[in-house]
Symmetry: C2
Subunit: 180 residues, 2 copies
């Protein structure tokens, strides 16, 4: 849908990085005026709700430089160029946690910050997990610790803000709605 569409008059490239790019578009507004939009472009990402056979959730702890804080989150990672999101989900789950999933189900997708970024997040449910020997393969600048917690424990960590990102809070609600 294109209601209130803002047509691009010109686009200024500001930055190309390893993870994100930045541009500023000059747009014509529905009333004919012009304005600017600051736009972060991102390749998209996946996140995985990984459930062990005893209904525990696999989560990872890592330092998040933008927040200067260590967070506990569901596993996630960005898409490589041309990669199918389901493939990314399998790859990231194994690289970050060492788990392979016999069952991987696509749940939904959503934009994380539609006001300034085009990042889309594809969410998967991974079940029937088996630990793969030497499966964990972190990027050289990635430091991640793996834990398994019950939903009740995750809710406690949400209260103490050890969990403090929206995808993990979404995952907790999802599990409360869908696990018996």
């Amino acid at each position: 849908m294109k209601k209130f569409e803002e047509k691009t008059i010109s686009s200024e490239h500001i930055f190309s990085g390893r993870m994100i790019d930045l541009k500023v578009d000059t747009v014509s507004l529905p009333n004919g005026e012009t304005s600017t939009r600051e736009i972060v472009t991102h390749p998209g990402a996946v996140a995985i709700i990984a459930l062990t056979d005893d209904q525990k959730v696999v989560v990872v702890e890592q330092y998040r430089k933008p927040l200067e804080k260590t967070l506990l989150e569901i596993p996630a990672g960005k898409l490589d160029a041309g990669e199918d999101p389901a493939e990314t989900a399998r790859r990231e789950l194994e690289e970050e946690t060492g788990y392979q999933a016999k069952q991987l189900k696509y749940l939904t997708s959503f934009y994380t910050s539609p006001g300034f970024a085009n990042e889309i997040l594809y969410l998967y449910l991974a079940e029937q997990l088996t630990l793969v020997e030497d499966g964990r393969q972190l990027d050289e600048d990635e430091f991640v610790e793996v834990y398994e917690y019950t939903i009740e424990e995750l809710e406690m960590f949400e209260k103490s803000q050890r969990i403090h990102d929206i995808k993990t809070s979404y995952a907790i609600q999802y599990l409360k709605l869908h696990l018996k």
Copy 2:
């Protein structure tokens, strides 16, 4: 918590905008190596689950330039400098929808994209709404249409991706968990 902390060695300022800034930090990793982190800084934002007396949810439709798409979302807006989030929530709700809330309850907060941005979102529940004459006051580059839908209708729009952002999907789950 500071496990796996990445200390800043130097910080390069890339861009200052109306909504976001961008910097690239060079950091020392836990293993002594160095790497870079691309960081979008954002003032933070609020989002409001606004419920009418007949249990409908007030949502707004607007064009999101980063996605080149019109989305239906719960009302939201960024914090002005020094502004208390509850005050922002009241202001944004009234400016975007014309509604004042007799009851405003803080629910939770979360980071939206902890991998590359420090944006934090404060979520409120607004109830006992009254429409204020001339309450709506959009920014001059803001074009927004207001609707009220049942939760079932919102779920349909999620399926058709007219709703396609994570805060609104979180809000739908919240209401399913907390409304009888």
